[in-house]
């Protein structure tokens, strides 16, 4: 029986979806995590602890492991583990994206350089060291601009600045985020800050699958909430897109060129683009699938989940159809409105009763300390909806969100009953 090495950070939202997909495919699984799983000692063939921050050492460990327990495919679920999966696949002589291509997709500066060289529209950008003087830089950049770390995901540490004063404040705020232990542990990439031109326009997210270098569209999501800063909080994704078909084609074509410019050839692609009268601009492109629980919004005519498609592709098995279901679908990532301790969530039955709402998944736990953007790295949860039209789906998500109430108490006052 084929065996999957699934690289799962212990903090990922994706565990259930990938384990279910692997179970449905009937493959054996070994889960590798960056930190110890509770039952690793009892189940040494199915649980493995690897140093995710040291891909070469992790790959050597997997090569040793695979001599006793052969591995047929290695799959990562986020930016870090995607790079690790490529390093491991190379070491095991399994089909894979080049390590350089997935590493470039993870590094926002390298990504932009390769995209620019490849003629793909990207914002103008410049790279600075954490040791540079923000007051001097502030005099040289054009406004509005966006200040962002090189390596963090999901808008963490991304701040818009409209003038010199805002730039200096944003730069210093990003510096503090880069000093946080979970970030500084990631080495030299946490020692740089990217500053780029703010691109106005509507933002979309493209989910695709590369097969032998050819990009195939899985879904194109509109993001109907404006993302104009100062922080860039992801909220609603709705598919199919309501943009004109010519614009959608241009988005797919731009993403195809972007994948090629990075050298990506196989596996999932998640791209974020902005569209304005000049056309689509690539803001990010990642060699992984959509994050959080968002993949639950996607269903395919074949009956497969997104994760099944990804795993089948990783094993080199055929996927007959990548066609998404006919219905419109959407997800709302629930933003953290304020810092504090989550003490209660009200209105879930009322929110669930909104027509079109399929699921409300509250992933923050009671007593959790909530940290909003730009410092934070978690959602309150997710709302999922389906309907005949994207408009219906968007309206259902907004109404369900309106009915939810999150009681957040300042940390100094919190008393949990």
């Amino acid at each position: 029986m084929s065996r999957l090495l699934l690289l799962l950070p212990t903090t990922t939202y994706r565990t259930e979806a990938f384990l279910n997909a692997a179970a449905k495919l009937g493959v054996e699984i070994t889960v590798a995590s960056g930190r110890g799983q509770a039952l690793t000692d009892q189940q040494p063939t199915t649980n493995l602890t690897l140093d995710f921050l040291n891909p070469e050492a992790a790959a050597r460990r997997v090569v040793d492991f695979s001599e006793k327990v052969p591995i047929d495919a290695a799959v990562g679920v986020d930016d870090d583990t995607t790079v690790l999966a490529a390093v491991i696949a190379k070491a095991l002589s399994l089909p894979h994206n080049s390590v350089s291509s997935v590493s470039a997709a993870k590094n926002k500066h390298l990504m932009r350089e390769l995209l620019r060289t490849g003629g793909v529209p990207v914002p103008r950008f410049a790279l600075y060291s954490v040791d540079d003087n923000p007051e001097l830089i502030a005099r040289t950049v054009s406004y509005p601009c966006v200040v962002k770390p090189l390596i963090l995901a999901a808008s963490r540490g991304v701040i818009r600045a409209n003038n010199e004063g805002e730039f200096i404040a944003a730069f210093q705020r990003v510096l503090k985020i880069l000093e946080q232990p979970d970030v500084s542990a990631r080495g030299s990439l946490s020692r740089n800050i990217l500053v780029e031109e703010f691109i106005p326009g509507q933002e979309v997210a493209l989910e695709g699958l590369l097969r032998n270098g050819k990009l195939e569209l899985l879904a194109l999501f509109d993001k109907p909430d404006p993302l104009d800063g100062p922080f860039f909080e992801e909220t609603i994704y709705v598919t199919p897109s309501r943009l004109p078909s010519s614009v959608q084609s241009a988005i797919v074509e731009t993403t195809r060129r972007a994948s090629g410019a990075l050298g990506l050839r196989e596996g999932p692609v998640h791209a974020e683009l902005r569209v304005n009268p000049q056309g689509p601009w690539v803001i990010e492109i990642a060699a992984r699938s959509i994050g959080g629980l968002c993949s639950r919004a996607l269903r395919f005519v074949s009956g497969m989940s997104l994760e099944e498609i990804i795993l089948r592709h990783a094993f080199g098995w055929g996927v007959s159809s990548l066609e998404r279901e006919r219905q419109a679908a959407g997800v709302m990532m629930l933003p953290i409105p304020s810092a504090g301790i989550l003490t209660e969530v009200r209105g879930q039955p009322e929110a669930k009763a909104v027509p079109g709402i399929e699921e409300i998944a509250i992933t923050a736990h009671i007593t959790q300390e909530l940290v909003p953007l730009p410092e934070g790295a978690a959602y309150l949860g997710f709302i999922f909806a389906r309907g005949e039209t994207p408009q219906e789906v968007e309206a259902a998500l907004r109404e369900a969100h309106r009915r939810l109430e999150f009681v957040i108490t300042p940390a100094s006052e919190a008393k949990i009953s």
Binding site: T11, S33, R35, Q37, Q43, V77, A154, T363, T367
Partner: protein
């Protein structure tokens, strides 16, 4: 093997093997019931709401139960993970 016998064996496995290990992550696993060879479990403490709870359950506990008691047809997690107040690994973006 009947449900009562399965219940005893699962209980023994949880007490002797599973809980000493998950206890090191501040967690515990309780047997709720066995009905028609379906085992119903509940996770608590550090396991409740933990980002790795699925791995612990599906890649650990469920496999151990199936290896030890092949008659078991299914292992069900009845935990309300959303109410977990002290998960060992809290999920975050990505």
């Amino acid at each position: 093997m009947g449900d009562t016998e399965i219940k005893d064996k699962v209980q023994e496995l949880l007490e002797n093997t599973v809980n000493p290990s998950v206890g090191m992550h501040g967690g515990f696993v309780q047997l709720i019931d066995v009905k028609d060879k379906i085992v119903y479990l509940q996770m608590g403490g550090g396991c409740q709401g933990c980002g790795a709870a699925d791995v612990t359950l599906k890649m650990g506990i469920e496999r151990m139960i199936r290896e030890e008691i092949p008659e078991v047809e299914e292992v069900m997690d009845t935990t309300d993970h959303a109410s977990g107040q002290n998960p060992y690994y809290a999920p975050s973006k990505g």
